[in-house]
Amino acid sequence: MSARANLALLRAEVGKVWASPILEITVALMAVMTLMSVQPITELVRHSDFSSVFRSAVMGSVSATAASLMLPWVIMCGVLMALSFARDYESGLMQSVLSTPVSRKTFFTVKFFAVVLPLMLLSWLLTTFFVGLSFYSDLLMVLRFSLCVLPVSFLSLMFCGGLGVLVALVVKRTIPAVLTSLLANFFIWYPANIDTEWLLREGVGYVNYLCLTPHEGALVFLDRLLGIVPMGISQIEDALQFTLSTSSFAVLLIFYACVLVIPLFVYFIRRFEVCE
């Protein structure tokens, strides 16, 4: 099939997935979540006479900002992916398109990226914008953040999207698939919201491993890319978050990005049956 045809299919898919009011809801959700995490106090602290140690602790709130920003993109990715696959299956559109000479590879890839790419762009724009609001005086830092958040959000989105597809291909019914995907993605995101620093200092053992979960891992990786080591963590010598290298986190994220998507892709092109 020609590139022109692929592009036409991508355009149609993006148009369908992001048709009003989905785009508006996503932007509003992201904006609300981000606004809640904008911390004007950050700027006050940075320009006052506090010690550099304290300042670096406040810098840590960049990733804290990203943590709550992450929730809408995680949820929307899971929901939209499940919606896109399950609704097309149920309505018979998948059957129609897969009866034209569109390969299953193309179809899967196009559907997947019709959700992931716009979300990545949105999350990138919005996070950069709102982090920029919090840290406006340090443009270099905002720029660095903006560059780093792109690959991190991409890898996280691959994982949430994979989860959404998995749910859709198993459940095959639109509403149940959407709800299941929403809950699954929320619970997998949840560890990213736990204050690991405090719990670690309290000696709660399992917390040490939370940084290996997909989204907390992504945030730690983001911190590492930005050169931030949260104060508290650096004092706990055996914290995995502290001892594991940046590249280990990169590998972990790439692993999560592929662990669902690749087997699902292979399953979809080799075995999946469209019987509705």
């Binding site: 099939m1 020609s2 036409a8 309505s91 559109l93 009866s99 390969s103 469209v274």
Partner: protein
């Protein structure tokens, strides 16, 4: 029957405990094929299977000599299909939807040609630019039909193509099918429950029930094999008419005999025997046989009898 372009060989397909196709054997021929059977017979499943959307549990299905599951991409390039469940990109206009499908099929996406195609399936010009989401059921069916005809397919599969159309438009669509088949050499496989319509247009019939083939062939073959032959009527034009009528009256398989104008209207219990005996009888009295025509070539009665037969 024309050249065979597709074949199912002992195809079995189960969905959990439900058996949708049960060792189905059938042949799709060049020309217009009618696929008939009661609800749940497995018609739609057979259609999905032939486009590689589902994989047979056993047996194999082929179109144009290619395996339907392993070579589905090549097959899909040569087949157009209209499913009973119609689904489109509802946010696009009819013309945009058709244009997208044309691109996916590698067909010409010139707007002029696409508009022509939409007019061919009688989709009103004022609807071309409107959102498909706002189309009526009949309009969706027409758009689906236009989609199935895109890009010069060799075979067009239509699953209940006239279900949502009014009688006038049903006839128009069927005329179009006949025209495309005769003039452009496109073969059709049409699944429908409106048997009198199929009877008029189809060259070959495939009757199935509970995932199995019951009968297949041209209409006469179907009727011959039917146990319900008592209802078959023939019109015979023969000269001199009285002599032949007298002879036929003595034949045991003849149920009823009428002379209307210059032809004999014969109702027989056994069509095969009738067709064997008639030339002999005509020969006996030295008459000339001008025409033998089946009148009530009733697909519906074949359908009923075959489906209600024991073990069917």
């Amino acid at each position: 029957m024309g050249e065979v372009i597709g074949e199912f060989k002992s195809v079995t397909k189960r969905f959990g405990s439900a058996v949708a196709l049960d060792g189905l054997n059938l042949k799709i021929c060049r020309g217009i094929n009618g696929l008939i059977g009661p609800n749940g017979a497995g018609k739609t499943t057979a259609i999905r299977l032939s486009l590689g959307l589902i994989k047979p549990d056993a047996g194999c299905a082929e179109l144009f000599g290619l395996d339907c599951w392993n070579n589905s991409l090549a097959i899909r390039g040569r087949v157009g299909v209209l499913y009973e469940k119609l689904a489109f990109y509802d946010n696009l206009s009819g013309l945009e939807q058709l244009r997208l499908m044309a691109k996916l099929k590698g067909a010409s996406d010139s707007v002029v040609k696409l508009r022509k195609l939409l007019c061919l399936v009688e989709l009103d010009e004022s609807a071309h630019g409107r959102r498909v989401g706002g189309y009526s059921a009949g309009m969706r069916q027409r758009l689906g039909l236009a989609q199935a005809l895109l890009g010069k397919p060799e075979l067009v599969i239509l699953d209940e193509p006239t279900a949502n159309l009014d009688p006038l438009n049903r006839a128009k669509i069927l005329d179009l099918v006949v025209f495309l088949s005769r003039e452009h050499g496109i073969s059709f496989l049409i699944s429908s429950h409106i048997l009198p319509e199929l009877e008029k247009v189809c060259d070959n019939f495939i009757l199935m029930n509970k995932g199995k083939l019951l009968r297949q062939g041209v209409l006469e073959q179907m009727l011959d094999k039917s146990s319900l032959l008592s209802v078959v009527k023939f019109v015979v034009r023969v000269q001199p008419i009285e002599a032949v009528a007298a002879l036929l009256g003595d034949e045991g398989y003849v149920e009823d005999l009428l002379v209307i104008d210059d032809s004999l209207h014969v109702t027989v219990k056994d069509a095969t025997l009738f067709k064997q005996r008639l030339p002999l009888l005509v020969g006996q009295v030295g008459a000339s046989l001008d025409e033998v025509r089946m009148v009530r070539s009733d697909l519906e009665s074949v359908f009923k009898s075959a489906v209600t037969e024991k073990g069917a």
